[in-house]
């Protein structure tokens, strides 16, 4: 009977991590549905970007209030994970405060964790107030109605509860240590939880142990639950921000990618010696001609799909978007949310059909993202600049415009006129190319 808690703990741990691993596999499979893209260049710059933007949070502090509060939660979570490591070992081996032998260092660590836990609680409360009381603009946009709003609050609640459990566990432990209870050796410093101790005053040793054990179990089970909630929430950024900033755009923001398939065709068209009826070269793969642009998630590249999973719906992109600021339907955040929702739908379709995607009569274009949104973009890159984790909503918008124009000939009429002007006389306006130098003498 002595080993029952250890076994239960091991089972919980295996289930928690196992289920998470299963979802990570699904996540990776979904991301790989995207087209391949070469991101093997500029390795050192990429590492630097990751260190600066994800690890160093440099773009978060552009907005100081949210940025500094976010750093508290971020540092809190990373550092408190050292404690989680001890908790896991204690759980598996049936020990209590395994690292207590570190002595003064241990006291320092536990003390710091407590202060961080308190700061996380403060930050989380302010975040909740910003979302629900102050109702900051970017949190109440149309795409945030319903689940996204609940999701955002849910994460704050979980973080609040986890930190409270951690402090409660410590308070009970501290009290037990002072009572000299068996197994509760003097260890740790409790600068924050000492203030909870008075609430536990008068409890018997066994009640205190019950409080301590309950808080301990709920805390670690809560962490495992949170780990598994990630995949279903907008909160994957705590993991994906790192690869996402690594694979983020390195080139100048104004440089849009070149479509190699188009280059091939244009070269053929411009080469007077090319025979348009020639049989394809021996090693040239025949098959369906490549689709230009994107109408669904599989037409995007995998970095764009990774972008979609990384988005935590903070809305900084949308609040910087000139189209959105002037009341247009376009919201770069919605572009990312739609991409992810559609990708999830495709993933579930595959799960239900033995790993094969069965066409469902839906696509990203029109069923999720409307043409009105796509055509409202000024390609100004404000959204790309604003994103604290290097997401590029603009690249998706452009890819979908390419589909509309090159596959569907469905550009707005005025743009079609502009483009035929370029075709006919080399300028977006209907002027004669021979008049290009008239300005000199006017």
């Amino acid at each position: 009977m002595e080993y029952v808690p250890n076994i239960l703990f091991a089972i919980a741990l295996v289930l928690g991590i196992g289920f998470f691993t299963r979802n990570v596999k699904k996540l990776s499979r979904n991301i790989k549905l995207g087209k391949d893209v070469d991101v093997s260049d500029n390795k050192s710059q990429r590492w630097k970007n990751m260190a600066k933007i994800a690890l160093g949070q440099t773009k978060m502090v552009v907005r100081p209030v949210a940025g500094i509060l976010h750093i508290l939660v971020y540092v809190g979570f990373i550092i408190i994970n050292i404690e989680v490591f001890e908790i896991i070992l204690d759980g598996l081996f049936g020990t209590h405060r395994l690292f207590a032998s570190l002595g003064g260092l241990y006291d320092f660590l536990i003390g710091s964790f407590e202060i961080l836990a308190l700061l996380v609680i403060v930050a989380v409360v302010v975040f909740w107030i910003r979302r629900n009381i102050i109702r900051i603009q970017r949190f109440i946009k149309p795409e945030m109605k319903g689940w996204p709003k609940q999701d955002g609050n849910m994460i704050l609640y979980i973080e609040f509860v986890l930190m409270t459990l951690f402090l409660t566990m410590n308070a009970a432990d501290f009290q037990l240590q002072q009572l000299g209870a068996e197994h509760y050796a003097q260890a740790g410093a409790f600068p924050v939880s000492q203030f909870i101790v008075p609430l536990l005053e008068g409890l018997s040793e066994s009640s205190l142990i019950l409080v301590e054990r309950t808080a301990w179990w709920l805390h670690i089970l809560g962490i495992l639950a949170f780990l598994n909630y990630l995949y279903y929430s907008k909160h994957l950024h705590i993991l994906l921000a790192f690869p996402n900033t690594y694979y983020g755009k390195i080139k100048p923001q104004g440089q849009f990618n070149n479509l190699a398939a188009v280059t091939k065709e244009v070269k053929l068209m411009m080469d007077p010696g090319a025979d348009p009826f020639a049989a394809p070269a021996e090693n040239e793969a025949e098959g369906e001609p490549e689709k230009f642009g994107a109408s669904d998630v599989m037409d995007l590249n995998w970095v764009q799909l990774l972008n979609a999973y990384t988005c935590t719906e903070c809305g900084r992109c949308t609040s910087e978007c000139p189209a959105n600021q002037t009341g247009k339907k376009l919201s770069p955040r919605k572009i990312m949310m739609d991409t992810r929702d559609r990708l999830e739908e495709v993933g579930k379709n595959m799960d239900a059909n033995k790993g094969e995607f069965v066409p469902d009569g839906k696509q990203l274009l029109d069923d999720y993202i409307s043409r009105e949104e796509l055509w409202a973009c000024t390609t100004c890159n404000a959204c790309v600049q604003a994103c604290p984790v290097s997401i590029d909503p603009l690249s998706i918008i452009v890819e979908m415009r390419r589909y509309l124009v090159m596959e569907q000939s469905a550009a707005p009429t005025e743009l079609n006129n502009m483009m035929s002007n370029i075709e006919n006389n080399g300028a977006p306006w209907p002027y004669n190319q021979m008049d290009r130098l008239n300005w000199v003498n006017e």
């Binding site: 244009v266 390609t379 390419r402 124009v405 300028a427 290009r436």
Partner: protein
């Protein structure tokens, strides 16, 4: 009829067996748009003043295809790009200067992959070079003490991180530079980018250029300076929407400098 400008085409240079120092890429707006033509003229006035041996392509120049690419028409873009590259490479062009940040961006960043490798400068960068090496000197009386705000064009600023050259050029006019709240990396778009210039905006509650002009007017400027023909149009329209066309004007940096000689 204003003063005579000296402008030679690349064809003429070839006939003489000479190479120009730079090629001035005029761009479609600079060639045809009435307002932008004045910017081309002002820039050439400065080039003439500094005795720069420059060429234009004239009737051989054709749209860079930039706007087609932003609209999603990669075919048309690449057709235009390859025709232009054939021409530019045929003339062995090394250095290109343009007053249009959109041409600047696409020539600089998007042409190399299609075989066009040139050193490309925005006119403010080139003017800064002329000022720095003393080829161009400015008296700087015309705008002394005037309040001027500079609107960063997206494709010059955010897209290519050129922030200082336009500001240094502006400082030579001895005007007082007043920055808008959102400037440099966080500058708001004028509303013309991404092919918006050529279509009506989608339904909304305001036009982007009106919002951006509001930013500019908050600095209480005498002049709004731009470095892009499209921004110029948008801001000029914005000024009209705010009924400020009597008191505030919109001018390109080349014009400000040309008037300060």
């Amino acid at each position: 009829m204003s003063e005579q400008l000296i402008v030679k085409t690349m064809e003429e240079f070839m006939a003489e067996g000479k190479q120009p120092e730079i090629l001035f890429w005029v761009g479609s707006a600079g060639s045809y748009d009435d307002r932008a033509k004045k910017i081309s003229r002002a820039f050439v006035k400065l080039l003439n003043k500094a005795n720069v041996d420059f060429a234009v392509l004239g009737p051989e120049e054709s749209s860079t295809g930039d706007v087609a690419k932003r609209a999603g028409n990669e075919f048309l873009f690449q057709m235009q790009a390859m025709m232009n590259i054939e021409l530019l490479n045929g003339y062995e062009i090394k250095r290109i200067v343009t007053c249009d940040p959109h041409s600047f961006n696409t020539l600089k960043n998007e042409y190399p992959e299609l075989g066009g490798n040139y050193e490309v400068l925005h006119h403010t960068q080139y003017l800064k070079e002329l000022l720095d090496n003393g080829r161009l000197t400015i008296e700087g009386k015309e705008y002394k003490g005037k309040r001027i705000t500079f609107h960063d064009p997206c494709y010059l600023g955010r897209a290519n991180s050129v922030f200082e050259a336009p500001r240094e050029v502006l400082s030579k006019t001895n005007a007082e530079l007043v920055e808008m709240k959102r400037h440099k990396k966080t500058a708001l778009c004028c509303g013309a980018g991404g092919a918006q210039m050529f279509k009506e905006p989608e339904k909304g509650d305001m036009d982007i250029n009106v919002l951006r002009t509001k930013d500019a007017l908050e600095t209480q400027p005498n002049i709004i300076a731009t470095g892009c023909p499209y921004c110029n149009t948008m801001m000029t329209d914005g000024i009209k929407a705010h009924e400020k066309e009597e008191s505030v004007s919109v001018m390109d940096l080349a014009e400000l400098l040309a008037n300060s000689i």
